[in-house]
Symmetry: C2
Amino acid sequence: MLLRLATTIKKRSTEELMGIKLRQMMLLSYLNAGAPALQQQVCEALWLDANNCVLLLNELEDMGYIERRRDPADRRRHVVELTEDGRIALLRAERAQETLGDEIFAALSDEERATLRSLLSRAAV
Amino acid sequence: MLLRLATTIKKRSTEELMGIKLRQMMLLSYLNAGAPALQQQVCEALWLDANNCVLLLNELEDMGYIERRRDPADRRRHVVELTEDGRIALLRAERAQETLGDEIFAALSDEERATLRSLLSRAAV
DNA sequence: TATTGTTATACTCTATAACTATA
DNA sequence: TATAGTTATAGAGTATAACAATA
């Protein structure tokens, strides 16, 4: 049931609706939450292997939503940072997600949604 | 969060653990729940397009877990039925899933799990 | 001609391994 | 030599379109 709901969310989170892909949004969202992060940290936080992470970052860099800079302390490393355009794109995607959430969980009260969130957060990831 | 949990479940539902793949289990589970069904119904219930459905049924038929017969009433149609081996394979997979569920939702009481199920079931699919 | 099931094909997502540059 | 990032490649999963048999 949980799996089916997840596929529903994925299917309805179209690029057309959000402006960007769901995975792209999750990466931008992670960057927005904290300070500019090392590429490695981004990968780990989002469960992406190094390869996938690079590809995703490439897309976002091409779109101008992130910037990659060499870490002066260790020139092998890249520091990833959200751009202003990236912030705007993220906001749009988040608004779309909220609307979608309202549609999908329309039958649940605010309180019930909070309960759901809390229960899910206590499951092992 | 819901999406992350879903990927956790998928990743941990390995063929090694369950004996069959998750999608195969879902199809067998559907057949087990009701009477022998038309291929078309199976597709629709599991959100598979016709192509995918055929491929999945092919796998299961090769493994001897289902049987396909022509519908005498309309020879274009196929009736799909679970075999005894299929039933056994399904049972094994279901047991593995239960164990997995216990691990993932270990922090939740029985009552809380019931609440979670009920909340999820009320979301739009 | 329309419908059921099938095959062929391509596209996305993900996973593995080899390569480059820095340390 | 070990590590961070990259590239190349292959494998799942999924979607689209063309095809065969039957109605």
